[in-house]
């Protein structure tokens, strides 16, 4: 039996090395399966919780055009959550189980959504910085070895570009509007800069799951490499907008042609991930009550389907 497993594992590793994708019914090591369940469900939770900071501004959007765009964006996030829950389900975990993990606080989600959205400029900042960082992560992950996750990410990446562009438009508009608008953008940028850099996760040297994930091509690039790619892209954009970056140590390294940042406050990162960020409690309460308040809709759809089915059965 154990020889059999060794043979299957060898075949699995060969397929990964050959760049083949793994599909739901294929044999896979238990750890590959459990790592994917954890990763994909966390990603799904992040999309769903990510609706809340933006939902906060739907009723206060400054124009109908902005409101329509924001509604469409929040609806996209719900769709992305759906794609991801579906791909996690193919690994043998039910959606109810994933919801339970989220609602009980067992499952984690992206730390960035535990920060408040205090001004309208934050809607621009989420599109530009947060979605910009997510695009860098997700376009890389879209080449991962698990077929259903890879396909869900391709679909998500196509839609994220609208999110980023609508954010950048909000920022450009505020900056062009004069000193007050620009000050709003700067205040928001100062609050979001560091938390966005934390989205890429701990340094690779402190990332316990990374080696296995890289070996199995669940993850294709290290956290630090992706973070650096984001920094190099964003620093230049911020400078073009005349924004000042809240990092005294930020310096351009001529040799690497890269921007080097000061040290990230990892204590803050750990605190927020472990439930002690500014909005963790509020996010979880909102999420739980949304789920509870939606129960009658789910039940009604069930009852309707059962009634309909029993009618068909009786007629036949």
């Amino acid at each position: 039996m154990s020889e059999n497993i060794a043979a299957m594992e060898a075949e699995f590793n060969r397929r990964i090395a050959a760049g083949e994708t793994i599909e739901p019914n294929d044999w896979m090591p238990e750890k590959y399966r459990s790592q994917l369940k954890r990763l994909i469900s966390q990603h799904a939770h992040s999309e769903i919780i990510g609706m809340l900071p933006e939902g906060n501004w739907i009723t206060r959007a400054p124009s109908l055009r902005r409101k329509l765009a924001l509604l469409a964006k929040v609806q996209d996030e719900a769709g992305h959550g759906h794609y991801l829950y579906s791909s996690a389900e193919t690994l043998g975990i039910s959606r109810e189980e994933m919801f339970d993990q989220l609602h009980s606080g067992k499952a984690k989600y992206s730390s960035i959504f535990n920060y408040p959205t205090l001004s309208w400029a934050d809607m621009g900042m989420i599109g530009w910085l947060v979605d910009g960082a997510a695009i860098i992560n997700q376009t890389t992950m879209a080449k991962c070895s698990y077929g259903p996750y890879s396909r869900a990410l391709l679909r998500i990446c196509k839609e994220e570009n609208f999110h980023k562009k609508q954010g950048m438009e909000i920022i450009a508009t505020l900056i062009a509007s004069g000193d007050t608008g620009k000050a709003m953008v700067q205040e928001s940028f100062t609050r979001f800069w560091w938390p966005t850099l934390m989205m890429f996760g701990p340094h690779d040297t402190n990332s316990p799951n990374s080696p296995d994930m890289m070996k199995w091509k669940i993850k294709l690039k290290g956290n630090d490499e992706l973070r650096q790619r984001f920094i190099d892209m964003t620093v230049e954009q911020a400078q073009k907008w005349g924004l000042s970056i809240p990092d005294q140590q930020l310096a351009f390294n001529e040799a690497t042609r890269s921007w080097e940042i000061g040290e990230i406050d990892w204590n803050e990162f750990t605190a927020v991930i472990n439930g002690n960020g500014p909005c963790n409690q509020e996010r979880m309460e909102t999420r739980r009550s949304a789920h509870d308040n939606g129960k009658w809709v789910r039940d009604a759809a069930h009852a309707y389907e059962e009634k309909h089915r029993s009618k068909i059965t009786t007629a036949a």
Partner: protein, 105 residues
């Protein structure tokens, strides 16, 4: 052969459906993903809301996931083997005796 998505389904979840989208005339329906829906009508509406939010959709098919039967990766080598030695099913098998210009047309 095996059924895809042959996973245990807890009772409190809606049925699982596979969604196939046709983006325009003359294109086949392609698998877009899965959707939950209590019944067919509900699943079709959910499929529209999740997979067709940006136009570019001509038609949607849905089918309950446990009705799909598929090959498995393990079986596929032997299952598709009978076609692998039939090179005469491809145009490059044939050699020409005409002049080049005429053959290319």
């Amino acid at each position: 052969m095996s059924k895809t998505n042959s996973l245990p389904e807890p009772n409190d979840q809606w049925n699982l459906w596979e969604v196939f989208i046709q983006e325009s005339d003359n294109e086949p329906h392609r698998h877009a993903g899965s959707i939950r829906g209590a019944d067919a009508e509900n699943a079709l509406q959910n499929a529209r809301d999740v997979f067709a939010r940006r136009g570019k959709t001509k038609s949607i098919w849905i089918v309950q996931s446990d009705h799909i039967v598929a090959t498995t990766t393990g079986d596929s080598a032997s299952f598709f083997d009978p076609t692998s030695d039939k090179v005469y099913r491809h145009p490059h098998f044939y050699k020409h005796t005409l002049d080049d210009e005429l053959w290319k047309k």
